[in-house]
């Protein structure tokens, strides 16, 4: 059977010395000479053009100004440009957009996909996670201040182990699922989360799939089962915690209100007799833990505590004095909500704790906003075992933390997560920079130089332009891992600025003789519709919201109940890392854009935005808003025919809303040319 354990021996070592392209040392190639030197804007173009010239293909002309401007805005900030009176030079506009706070939102999204961010637990309960946003907020802010990618990464992988700790950043690894289903073995789901972290780490930074190695030696790539569990061991010791993470300005007001809050809460709890009852309940829970099978009510109560409240058993086993503020509050809140499990119905009704719960909730609202973050911290010194067939119930021999044998050795005796993080950015590491520049390239061209951006292993595709990939990787490292430098470089190239239209000889367009047409991601479609209608709330960062007109990335995202709009337009639900979204084109998308009230609202708002004037003036303005270009004569004719046919039945605003809605439904609106 395939799942039977392979013998470790040969596979790992043989491939470790393999000539697979992605593990070769990184060197900066010299940009090749080209005949049409006048087309070249920067070295990127030399690599692209040299290849095209070899094939006898000429590159495309630069896209027209309006197309280029719309492309630049959508790519950098995820919103289309608005009509402006004065034309800004390309370079100046680029700098303005790189400095925009929306840049951080646009470029946080692919990172959120990799971390598989959502605002809920997943699994059966799929409970809301009120604090997940805090890590997202940090990502947006870090990208906006151009935190170099090495630091950006190290803080997320091991921010807790830095001399100046950054706990919030470790929230990257808190986007794992939490199972609160009764009867589950908490260890099983702790192990699942560690496996998820291992897989997410290797996908995000190494573009290697390690999951298969969990049960057996990876069939094709230089990853043995031993390798896998060595990597796993880095994450196995870390504990999940919630910590204070106030935003600037929150602290003062909160401290002021806090002492009053504590006094009021304690008085309330005292009035309902909570502390005494909780004390007895905790003792009984501990007794039950020691004698399972005697009292079924209590068995079930204990079981629920272990699963429904993460770390619940551990809190009960910690003395009151040693519990931190969250632990005690979490446990008390849990106790109040679940005490009735071990009480006859009449008695729990007599307690009147429903009223207490209401008052406690009201009291919580008296506190000014206070941000907390989900983080990963410390090392519990938990030994890691190789698990037979990946089953947590079959621990094999102990495995020490270490990296993959096909990659440079760590050279540290007792490595921690921080060593793993720093190892990624050693000058002799062949993967990290290649993986990252390829992923940025993918966003700008719709596909990476390595098409399988999630897989740099032997089962992935080879790069179309290996020398360009290496040149970009070295340039990126030498710049000090400055992301905005990389963005500027790509966007300034003649390759990026080419037209996307009218050439059909090479459908895959792997050689980039033109730009690609790229359908916008779900989030940018809704954002753009609201934005061109003048409805978008443009505030940046902060908590997730349940509705309204904020950017789509801030809408509360439940893993099991994603908004129909997001599902229709291929946003991943957040169960696993995704670095290349599927792009589908379905009738459900058509229904969505035609009939979703949000898009109808946008169409009506657009109609109201139009200035007074004759048909053509108004139509040109509409095209300016929605497509950031002028209407052609044919388009004016098509639109005016519909308008003339309908203006008798519809009032002026509804007739224009019809035209606006049609434009919002066009393929062009959904596409970055």
């Amino acid at each position: 059977m395939l799942r039977t354990l392979f013998i470790f021996s040969a596979i790992g070592t043989v491939l470790a010395q393999s000539d697979h392209w992605s593990v070769q040392p990184l060197q900066r190639p010299t940009p090749p000479a080209v005949r049409r030197a006048g087309w070249v804007r920067n070295p990127i173009d030399q690599f692209i053009l040299a290849r095209l010239e070899k094939e006898g293909i000429s590159p495309s002309a630069e896209a027209d100004r309006a197309t280029l401007r719309r492309r630049l805005h959508l790519d950098l900030i995820g919103l289309p440009p608005q009509p402006s009176a004065t034309a800004m030079p390309f370079e100046k506009e680029l700098e303005r957009l790189l400095a925009s706070e929306h840049f951080g939102e646009k470029w946080a999204l692919p990172w959120l996909d990799l971390a598989h961010y959502a605002d809920s637990d997943g699994y059966r309960s799929d409970a809301f996670r009120p604090n997940a946003w805090r890590w997202r907020h940090w990502v947006i802010e870090a990208i906006n201040r151009d935190l170099p990618f090495d630091r950006f990464s190290i803080e997320q992988i091991a921010g807790d182990q830095l001399p100046r700790p950054n706990l919030v950043a470790t929230g990257f690894f808190r986007n794992t699922l939490t199972n609160r289903e009764g009867g589950t073995d908490p260890e099983q789901f702790r192990v699942e989360a560690v496996m998820d972290r291992t897989a997410t780490f290797s996908t995000a930074w190494l573009a290697l799939t390690t999951n298969c190695a969990q049960c057996h030696d990876h069939k094709y790539d230089p990853i043995t089962q031993e390798d896998y569990f060595r990597l796993y061991a880095f994450f196995n010791g870390a504990e999940e915690r919630t910590v204070d993470a106030p935003l600037p300005g929150e602290l003062g007001a909160w401290l002021e209100a806090r002492s009053v809050y504590v006094a009021k809460r304690e008085a309330l709890l005292g009035r309902y007799g909570v502390p005494e009852r909780q004390d007895i309940w905790e003792k009984e829970i501990l007794r039950t833990a020691g004698e399972p099978g005697v009292r079924l009510d209590w068995d079930h109560a204990f079981d629920d505590l272990r699963t429904a409240l993460p770390g619940g058993e551990q809190i009960v086993r910690t003395t009151l004095a040693q519990r931190d503020r969250w632990q005690q509050k979490d446990l008390t809140d849990y106790f109040i909500a679940n005490y009735n499990r071990v009480l006859p119905k009449e008695e729990s009704e007599r307690l009147g704790w429903e009223a207490l719960t209401k008052q406690l909730r009201a009291l919580d609202k008296e506190l000014p906003p206070w941000s907390e973050a989900l983080v990963l911290r410390g090392d519990a010194g938990r030994a890691s075992h190789l698990m037979e067939r990946g089953d947590f119930r079959s621990p094999g021999r102990v495995v020490k933390p270490g990296t993959l044998s096909a990659l440079p050795a760590l050279g540290v005796a007792e490595p921690r997560r921080l060593d793993l993080a720093r190892w990624l950015f050693r000058r002799d590491h062949p993967l990290t920079a290649r993986v990252v520049v390829n992923r940025v390239w993918q966003q700008y061209f719709g596909r990476g130089l390595v098409k399988t951006s999630e897989n740099f292993g032997t089962q992935g595709e080879r790069p179309t332009h290996p020398e360009l990939l290496d040149w970009l990787a070295v340039e990126f490292i030498d710049s000090g891992w400055q992301m905005k430098h990389l963005h500027r470089l790509i966007v300034s190239s003649a390759t990026y600025r080419q037209a996307s239209l009218g050439r059909t000889e090479d459908r895959e367009n792997a050689l980039l003789a033109r730009q690609n047409r790229v359908r916008l991601q779900a989030e940018w479609i809704r954002d753009s519709a609201l934005f061109v209608a003048g409805l978008l709330d443009q505030s940046v960062g902060g908590r997730s919201v349940a509705g309204g007109h904020r950017r789509t990335m801030y809408l509360r995202k439940f893993r099991n109940k994603p908004a129909a709009f997001l599902t229709n337009f291929d946003a991943p639900p957040g169960y696993a890392p995704v670095c290349r979204r599927v792009v589908s084109n379905t009738p459900l998308q058509a229904l969505n854009l035609l009939n979703d009230p949000v898009f109808q609202e946008a169409a009506v708002a657009l109609a109201r935005r139009l200035p007074d004037g004759d048909f053509e003036t108004r139509l040109r303005r509409l095209y300016g808003f929605v497509l950031a270009r002028d209407a052609s004569a044919d388009e004016v004719r098509l639109m005016s025919e519909t308008y003339e046919r309908r203006r008798g039945q519809l009032n002026e605003e509804s007739a224009w809303a019809l035209l606006a809605s049609a434009l919002l439904n066009t393929d062009e609106f959904l596409t970055r040319e």
Binding site: M1, L2, R124, N179, G182, G183, T209, P292, G293, L296, D297, D299, H300, D303, F445, G446, R447, T452, N455, G457, G460, L501, T504, R507, E508, N509, N516, R517, V518, R519, N560, K561, A564, T567, N568, P573, Y575, V582, V583, S584, N585, T586, P587, L588, Q589, A590, L591, N592, L594, N595, D596, E635, L638, T642, R646, L658, A662, N665, T666, D667
Partner: protein, 445 residues
């Protein structure tokens, strides 16, 4: 030619990607009567008279030593079923008195009594049954079927989901497309109100105005198509036409006015407590008549840890009559021969008692080792038993059928070799049955 590069993954392109059937199909479509939560086979489909001798006592340790259960210990007391079982039809299949209508259809069923699965909790169990893997993220059974069979319905999605009662625990993961293109995911239909999200035109848009809007969009898109030559735009124009047809086909589907009074009565439409499940069963028939390939009809929850007597009876009263009427109706219309009907949940329930709350009645725990499901219709041996569990119903002892075997068999009936229906993702060829599964020959005609 498969194309899913920069310009996107077109709906038409997705249709072109479909696998070709590997051999002639016995069934052309599937109706899965999904019973999430774990229906109690001991009380419904797998009589265990031996339990009466052990009622109230722990079962022999030799029989229970390897059991891994969710809540109770293997030493929990046995609980004999209070139900009476009788033989039905020519096949003489024994069915409990709580399924009187289905009992009359016994000669149409192939009853599997030694089903087993790897998972003993709901989410992983549902995922095993519906995607072949305990974790989320793989394509669902219905999506694989779509991937294999492609779009047949001209006016409706090919994979539709109908739910009543409590939704399955793992929610939409039961019909997700995983790494398959999203056009293969199940489309949930609501039986009341708007059946698909955004199906209804905005207020003020009658059918003529909607048509005019779509015509204008298509004219603008054709204009763009001429400028770009990008076939993705053709796909988009086609998808708007399909959307428009769906807008009228879906309400027509929900309109039962042309169904006879006898049919409505047979299903239990407009009767209680059957109404909502009856509507879904009748809709399932109307959908397969209109070319839908896979209808998932879910009713939950059967997770009777407490008060089993009361809850199980309630679910039987809701589902028995409509499910039986569906089988009879499909047969009467000549559709059963080409339609595969499957009944069951992610696992069964223990022969031992669970009593977790003193103020509630007895129940049973999750039981993954030996539970029952039935299949009927296209290519399935009718009036037949496959598999036997031991005298206590703890383990399968003859013709055990794992979830992957069931999946391999379903694909086989649809004309696909489960080993060859694969999709390449992240450097691996994935299939529904993971690295397992064998077609259960005894199920086949």
């Amino acid at each position: 030619m498969l194309r899913r590069a920069a310009a996107g993954f077109g709906w038409l392109a997705a249709q072109r990607l479909l696998a070709q059937p590997h051999f002639p199909a016995k069934a052309e479509r599937v109706i899965f009567l999904y019973m999430p939560g774990g229906p109690s086979q001991v009380d419904l489909l797998d009589p265990k008279p031996e339990l009466r001798k052990w009622h109230g006592q722990a079962l022999p340790a030799s029989a229970t030593k390897d059991l891994k259960l969710a809540f109770i210990k293997p030493t929990a007391r046995a609980m004999a079923s209070p139900r009476t079982f009788a033989r039905h039809g020519e096949s003489g299949i024994e069915v409990s008195d709580w399924l009187p209508h289905l009992a009359r259809q016994a000669d149409k069923m192939c009853l599997l009594r030694a089903m087993h699965t790897e998972a003993f909790n709901h989410d992983p169990g549902e995922m095993m049954l519906m995607s072949g893997h305990i974790q989320f993220g793989r394509p669902s059974l219905g999506s694989w079927v779509q991937y294999g069979l492609g779009e047949a319905a001209k006016n409706l999605p090919g994979f539709v989901v109908l739910t009543s009662g409590q939704a399955p625990s793992a929610g939409s993961n039961n019909w997700a497309s995983g790494f398959l293109p999203s056009s293969f995911q199940g489309t949930p239909f609501q039986s009341t109100g708007e059946p698909i999200p955004f199906l209804g035109s905005p207020s003020g848009y009658d059918r003529a105005l909607q048509r005019e809007r779509i015509d204008l969009v298509s004219a603008l898109n054709r204009h763009r198509l001429a400028a770009t030559g990008d076939a993705e735009i053709e796909s988009r124009i086609a998808s708007y036409e399909m959307a428009f047809r769906m807008q009228s086909a879906a309400p027509e589907l929900l309109d039962f006015s042309k169904e006879s009074a006898a049919t409505l009565a047979a299903y239990g439409v407009n009767q209680q407590p059957t109404h909502s499940y009856a509507v879904n069963c009748l809709l399932a028939r109307r959908m397969v008549e209109r070319g839908v390939h896979f209808v998932l009809v879910s009713h939950g929850s059967w997770d009777d840890h407490n008060d089993l007597e009361k809850n199980l009876q309630k679910n039987c009263l809701i589902t028995d009559q409509p499910a039986a009427a569906l089988l009879a109706d499909l047969a009467a219309r000549g559709l059963l021969d080409s339609t595969l009907v499957i009944w069951g949940g992610e696992f069964g329930r223990t022969p031992m008692v669970q009593h977790q709350r003193s103020d509630q009645g007895y129940g049973r725990d999750h039981h993954p080792n030996a539970f029952s499901m039935w299949m009927a219709g296209g290519g399935v041996r009718a009036g037949h038993l496959v598999g036997r569990s031991d005298d206590f119903g703890l383990q399968g002892v003859e013709d055990r059928v794992g979830v992957h075997d069931l999946q391999a068999t379903i694909l086989h009936l649809l004309g696909f070799d489960h080993l060859r229906l694969t999709y390449s993702h992240q450097g691996r060829n994935f299939r529904l049955t993971d690295v397992h599964g064998e077609v259960v020959k005894k199920v086949l005609v």
